[in-house]
């Protein structure tokens, strides 16, 4: 067998591992082994590529792999569980950047460094030249969009809710990028292709910024998922440029899977993808930011007394729980209540937190049994028969305005109907608005009592009082 046949068969093994791995990753029981199969598929792909390269100079490759592996491992080891969304966004940006660099490197070797070449189209062929331009475009958007998404998640950057002339700016930048890309690959000139490529890179980076800057609030997870899909497509485009079927298949599968996941998230928020991408959470509608009246607050001791007497309790976690690292404290409260014979469940809103499934990850870290976590659609009908709801650091996902005020920015978004429970305790630092930046009328309801303070501290106090009640 020739070397090419061996590596082609190995590529098939790699694809099979990716596909089976991804399938297993979408089921709870098999998820971890699925991820490991995908990692094995990647290892096979890298080894076969190195085998195919044969006798070459290894220094740059070994250096790059060593640096990348070191930084990757260090980043993960240092990351906190609450910072996972930011980490995913950053890695995603790096993936997009790598694809764009592959295309630029290919272009540079064929046009600038080859004295005999006239243009990229003649040196590489029309398909490779055109897809190289596409790779730079998608990869650049992925890089700047992901970096900006990470900064916005951290709160380092706060974009304007609306960017005037955004569509026009996008159209101009896209036109500029395509024109520059065209010049880069067809020009018969010494400097014009280089200038074209640099303008293309700059334009693609700016498109990513303009795309993500005005998007905020609960829409951030959708954007990251979409950028994830784009980084897959960038890899697929690089596959076309290099004529490598393994890159095309793996990249396209990620692109399609990312798109489906994006769609699932949009459905969870009752919004269309277009609506999300237009940006400025809520768009034109006026947000109600008036002062709160009739807010009642209490302390952990009183709340514990109410909880002791309850039969059914539902805990609603939000981003505040993750940010305050209160997941273990929440589990302690649940355990104390269960010991008192109270039925306790956790209600999981699909977009609570900063990523879909964020609450599941955080609560799983605290070893809360999977059976106690109930999805919104299945638990919403149970709120009227619930004695006490404890809202921990959630805001927009429990705001009744979504159902009652058609003009509200979050109108139509499915919410957890906590207001229909007999009593609602809201654990929160202050009355500051949530990510959507609007007032939450739940806090003014007669059956709502605020427990102001740090989520972890308040839950610890609650658990302590509940333990005392057992004696």
């Amino acid at each position: 067998m020739r070397t090419a046949d061996v590596t082609a068969l190995a590529a098939l093994v790699s694809i099979a591992l990716f596909v089976v791995g991804l399938k297993r990753l979408s089921r709870v029981r098999s998820a971890r082994s699925g991820n490991q199969l995908m990692a094995a598929g990647m290892l096979v792909a890298v080894v076969l590529t190195l085998f195919e390269l044969g006798r070459i100079d290894w220094r740059w490759i070994l250096g790059g792999v060593a640096v990348g592996a070191g930084v990757g491992v260090a980043t993960v080891l240092r990351a906190k569980a609450t910072a996972m969304p930011e980490i995913v966004a950053r890695f995603n940006g790096f993936g997009g950047a790598a694809s764009a660099l592959v295309a630029v490197s290919l272009f540079w070797a064929a046009v600038v460094e080859d004295p005999t070449a006239t243009s990229a189209v003649e040196a590489l062929g029309v398909t490779a030249a055109a897809t190289a331009v596409l790779t730079v475009l998608i990869g650049g958007v992925t890089l700047s969009g992901s970096v900006l998404a990470e900064l916005k998640l951290r709160g380092t950057v706060e974009g304007p809710a609306r960017l005037p002339g955004r569509s026009l700016a996008m159209a101009v930048l896209l036109g500029l990028g395509v024109a520059a890309g065209w010049e880069a690959v067809v020009a018969h000139d010494a400097t014009l292709p280089v200038v074209g490529m640099l303008v293309l890179v700059a334009a693609s980076l700016l498109i990513g910024v303009v795309l993500v800057l005005p998007i905020g609030g609960a829409d951030m997870p959708v954007v990251i998922s979409l950028l994830n899909s784009l980084s897959g497509l960038a890899a697929a485009a690089a596959g076309f440029a290099l004529d490598d079927p393994l890159l095309i298949i793996a990249g396209t599968v990620v692109g399609a899977a990312g798109l489906i996941l994006t769609q699932i998230m949009c459905v969870a928020m009752n919004r269309s993808l277009l609506n999300v991408m237009v940006g400025g959470f809520g768009g034109d509608v006026e947000a109600d930011t008036s002062e709160y009246v009739n807010v009642r607050s209490s302390d952990a001791e009183e709340a514990a007394m109410v909880l002791e007497a309850a039969e059914r309790v539902i805990i609603v976690p939000g981003y505040g729980l993750a940010a305050g690292r209160a997941q273990n404290a929440a589990h302690e409260v649940a355990k104390a209540l269960i010991a008192l014979g109270v039925e306790v469940r956790f209600a999981i809103h699909p977009v609570a937190g900063r990523m879909p499934g964020h609450m599941n990850v955080v609560l799983a870290e605290a070893e809360v049994p999977y059976e106690l976590l109930v999805e919104m659609d299945r638990i919403n009908q149970d709120f009227p028969q619930t004695d006490v709801v404890i809202v921990v650091g959630a805001n927009d996902v429990v705001n009744p305005a979504a159902n009652t005020q058609p003009s509200s920015p979050i109108a139509g978004m499915p919410i957890l109907d906590v207001a229909s429970a007999r009593r609602v305790f809201v654990i929160k630092r202050s009355l500051s608005p949530g990510y959507a930046g609007i007032k939450n009328e739940l806090f003014e309801r007669d059956n709502t009592v605020m427990l102001f303070g740090d989520a972890k501290q308040v839950l610890d106090d609650l658990a302590a009082h509940l333990h005392l009640a057992r004696r």
């Binding site: 990716f18 596909v19 791995g21 990753l25 709870v28 998820a31 991820n35 990692a39 990647m42 590529t49 390269l53 070459i56 220094r59 740059w60 792999v65 990348g68 930084v71 990351a79 996972m84 980490i87 995913v88 890695f91 790096f94 993936g95 950047a97 790598a98 694809s99 592959v102 630029v104 490197s105 540079w108 070797a109 398909t127 897959g232 890899a235 596959g239 076309f240 290099l242 095309i248 298949i249 990249g251 396209t252 990620v254 692109g255 899977a257 990312g258 798109l259 489906i260 996941l261 699932i264 998230m265 969870a268 999981i348 990523m355 879909p356 499934g357 964020h358 990850v361 799983a364 999977y370």
Partner: protein
Amino acid sequence: MGPLLVSLYVFVLAGFLGFELINKVPPTLHTPLMSGANAMSGITVIGALTLATVAEPRVSTILGFLAIALATINVVGGFLVTDRMLATFRRRR
């Protein structure tokens, strides 16, 4: 059928495969799935590997080196962070 057409066939079929693979996913797995798929998009590393094969520090080689480093961060970090998330699910059983 020319090579471009074969690539297009592969592209379209892989797209359908991706759609079908994860059409139903419990919300618990949305974040790990996004993270795992993200690591898989680091497959671009195999393209990068073919571009840094000479010792001489040309621009294309340095760009290839950077691409290898960034893609490897994406791959190694991505699979590792996904495994870390999923490990918390397993411990309960």
